[in-house]
């Protein structure tokens, strides 16, 4: 292979990934809206182009597979075949396989593949043959491929419980299935559910009967009224003027912009005092304005909307729900919220895991739900928004909830090193993140390759985030992930707590004032408080908390008031030296563990200074001691 050929192939592999992602979005949209001819046309175009290009650069196997898929799509386009969830599943499988091939080829241009099984399946659909879903495709497919053997287990369930409609199915063709022994699998799944402390009826522990005539399914499924879902119509082809840029270039740029901000701050500070000639002062002022814009744009370069990841989650939910015979309604809020690309990459897996858990362990099956007076469709809501200097992502379900008592009991049984007796319910629920809880020996197909919640928590912490779960038994659970908005160039106060200096982000500050001796009181049992107009606020001394001095509240000091989302508190410092922008520099793991140190920055004089997160140290403690619990549940 000469260099030119290699280049061609590599370019194709790069380009095709976004094509494949577009395909997946379209397939999922098609699932909700099978009649949308615009969508079908678009998919057909994508597949056609993929086939042509892959053939041209010499990836014959991709071309071959795509060609067969194209034939199926053509039949669908010409309305010779009607779409059903199984065809969509196969198409998604095709999508996954192509993606897998592309990714494998990126690492090894000479890789070869075995696609007969999938080709056979697609051809079966083309010929209208009943598709045997007990295929033996290797488990090398990406995580969110439909789990075949689970489908088996749950077709069996249909015999004993009224069949639940599969997500948005408009029709269900008769399906032939062959009996497979999967009692083991069900056991493992049930076991992991028990581990997580979910209560469930013994109803679910079923023997797997010989395959009952699944044709019964057909008559019992009422043809669901065509739902007026907010299904997206064929995504318009964006007139997109964009360009691919190497991530390393952007990183370099961001580093340089960071240095630039520091230097420009130095100049700004010397203006008027040390630098006095008009032209220089004017130029520096202009420089500051431009610098702000440069910062904003350079930071935004690495930010991408969560949309992509949410789509993956939507797919995960679909596949998991299908595999478990559950009906799930997904609401997504804030998919256009942007987040740094590298953070997003690390966030994807934990999110998938949490979402899977919600469908698998959180939501009850339809029958149980109706019995409890809930809607037969389980609800999962994924929301993302900016809160202060953080990004918050919440995954909420209205399922069974997590029972703190079961967890406490489990913890005792496992001999975990936690003090169960003094634990609050909220703390007990968070035990699911404890390393001792994850049953690593179990590799349940649905809930991941033996990945426990503790790994999820660790991975989120590695990117500087935190995860918390709250729950009400019977009503549901809510996972809340809080991430720092990276690429932080923030507005902050440089304060003095002699002899040290610290930096406090402006974000949570409500006001600041000069301390007078009559404002400070000491209340036994409470501590120091500040009288502020008609408020009495807890008062802390920065020198004492982070400095090397004893607490002091001297008249003339500056007091900074934090609003703390409704539970304000006050912090006394010697003075506020100035307000400026700082670039957050990461500090090593060895000191990061210390509460309140959110990072460091380099001030104009070159000295490294700590940035303090007082909400973490003080604010959260205040909230905890007031026993505020967060209620999960889906806001209307």
């Amino acid at each position: 292979m000469d260099d030119f050929e290699v280049e061609l192939k590599k370019d194709f592999l790069e380009e095709s990934l976004s094509m494949i992602d577009n395909c997946e979005t379209s397939f999922l949209a098609l699932d909700k809206n099978p009649g949308d001819s615009g969508l079908i046309d678009q998919i057909f175009r994508l597949a056609h182009s993929l086939k042509g290009t892959s053939r041209a650069v010499g990836f014959a196997q991709i071309a071959e597979l795509t060609h067969i898929a194209e034939n199926l799509l053509l039949k669908i386009k010409n309305k010779e075949i009607e779409l059903n969830p199984h065809i969509v599943s196969t198409l998604l499988e095709f999508n996954d396989r192509v993606k897998l091939m592309v990714e494998t080829l990126r690492a090894d241009l000479g890789a070869e593949f075995q696609n007969h099984d999938l080709i056979g399946k697609i051809e079966d659909h083309i010929n209208g043959k009943a598709v045997s879903s007990a295929s033996t495709h290797p488990n090398t497919i990406a995580e969110n491929a439909p789990i075949e053997s689970f489908e088996e287990a749950n077709f069996a369930n249909f015999e004993q419980s009224p069949p639940e409609p599969i997500m948005e199915a408009e029709q269900v063709n008769s399906i032939e299935t062959s009996p497979v022994d999967q009692t083991e699998m069900s056991e493992a799944a049930l076991e992991s559910m028990r581990e997580l402390g979910f209560s469930f009826d013994t109803n679910e522990k079923k023997e797997v009967p010989k395959m009952a005539p699944v044709l019964e399914l057909k008559k019992e499924v009422a043809s669901p009224a065509p739902k007026t879902e907010k299904a997206p119509s064929s995504p318009a082809q964006p007139a997109d003027e964009s360009i691919r840029v190497a991530l390393s270039k952007i990183e370099k740029l961001n580093n340089l912009v960071g240095e630039f901000v520091i230097l420009q701050t130095v100049l700004e500070q010397r203006r008027f005092i040390h630098i006095q000639d008009e032209l220089s002062v004017k130029s520096i002022t202009q420089l500051s304005k431009i610098s702000k814009e440069i910062q904003d744009i350079s930071m935004s370069l690495r930010m991408i909307p969560l949309k992509q990841t949410f789509q993956k989650l939507s797919r995960t939910i679909r596949d998991t729900a299908l595999a478990l015979g559950k009906d799930v309604e997904l609401t997504i809020d804030g998919e256009n919220t942007e987040i740094d690309k590298t953070v997003l990459e690390k966030l994807a897996d934990p999110l998938v895991h949490i979402v899977r858990n919600a469908v698998d362990h959180g939501l009850e099956i339809g029958a149980d739900r109706t019995q409890k007076g809930k809607s037969p469709k389980g609800n999962i809501k994924i929301a993302a928004y900016h809160e202060g200097s953080n990004m918050v992502i919440k995954v909420t379900d209205d399922g069974k909830g997590i029972d703190p008592n079961v967890l406490k009991k489990k913890a005792k049984e496992k001999g975990l090193n936690v003090n169960v007796a003094t634990m609050t319910d909220a703390q007990a629920i968070n035990l699911i993140f404890h390393a001792g809880f994850s049953t690593k020996e179990q590799v349940t197909e649905v809930s991941g390759r033996g990945v426990g919640m503790d790994v999820v928590k660790t991975n989120i912490e590695i990117i500087g985030g935190k995860v918390d779960v709250s729950s009400t038994v019977g009503s549901g659970s809510e996972f809340k992930i809080v991430l720092p908005l990276t690429l932080a160039i923030i507005d902050a106060f440089v304060v003095e707590a002699k002899p040290e200096r610290f930096v406090l982000p402006v974000t949570h500050v409500r006001e600041s004032l000069i301390l007078r001796s009559q404002d400070v009181k000491y209340l036994t049992g409470v501590g120091n408080v500040l009288n502020l107009r008609d408020e009495v606020l807890p008062l802390y001394s920065l020198s004492q908390m982070f400095g090397s001095q004893k607490a002091k509240f001297d008249p003339g000091q500056t007091v900074i008031i934090y609003h703390n989302y409704g539970d304000p508190f006050a912090v006394a410092v010697d003075s506020i030296i100035q307000q400026q922008q700082v670039v957050i520099k990461k500090i090593g793991q060895e000191i990061k563990q210390k509460e309140g140190l959110m990072g460091a920055c380099i001030l104009g004089d070159g000295r490294p200074t700590f940035i303090l997160d007082l909400i973490e140290v003080i604010g959260n403690k205040i909230k905890q001691s007031k026993n505020r619990t967060i209620q999960p549940g889906l806001a209307a």
Binding site: G547, G588, E590, I591, Q593, K594
Partner: protein, 151 residues
């Protein structure tokens, strides 16, 4: 001129108090003289603080304090070694930097009992050079030894 044997490894030799130590050269990023240090709030005393190294913030540890070795007085040769441990940077202050050693694996011996300030569990091996005894230490183990910070 001896030819480089593939089994030779390079080490950086340095002094702490009266004893000589060495660490693999590969883990050494650079050697600097310590710039201004900002202390870390409420940290163990062997943490000197953080420094600004060309725009990066690096934590610095005083190895002599950690191992309770009395530092040399009026020492103009005091230096700080910047290490790469687990993909993150850390600075360690030492009394002096001596040389780069090329040690053949065969010449590293395991002495069971060494009378040193450094506990035996931190010593990977011993190298005899002329009349000098150089202890090859495992810095990562030493630093991991005490829980660094408790919230």
């Amino acid at each position: 001129m001896k030819t480089d044997n593939l089994n030779d490894q390079r080490y950086l030799q340095f002094a702490l108090g009266e004893e000589q130590f060495a660490i693999p050269l590969l883990s050494v990023k650079e050697v600097i003289s310590l710039p201004e240090v900002t202390p870390i709030p409420k940290s163990p005393n062997f943490f000197k603080g953080i420094i600004n190294l060309r725009g990066t913030v690096i934590s610095v540890v005083d190895l002599r304090t950690k191992l309770t070795i009395k530092p040399k007085e009026n020492n103009k040769e005091e230096a700080t070694i910047i290490l790469d441990i687990n993909n993150s940077n850390l600075g360690v202050v030492v009394d002096s930097i001596d040389k780069v050693l090329n040690i053949a694996i065969e010449s590293i011996s395991k002495l069971p009992e060494v009378n040193s300030k450094v506990g035996n569990q931190f010593i990977n091996g011993v190298f005899q050079k002329e009349d000098e005894l150089i202890l090859l230490i495992d810095l990562q183990k030493i630093l991991n030894d005490t829980p660094i910070m408790k919230s």
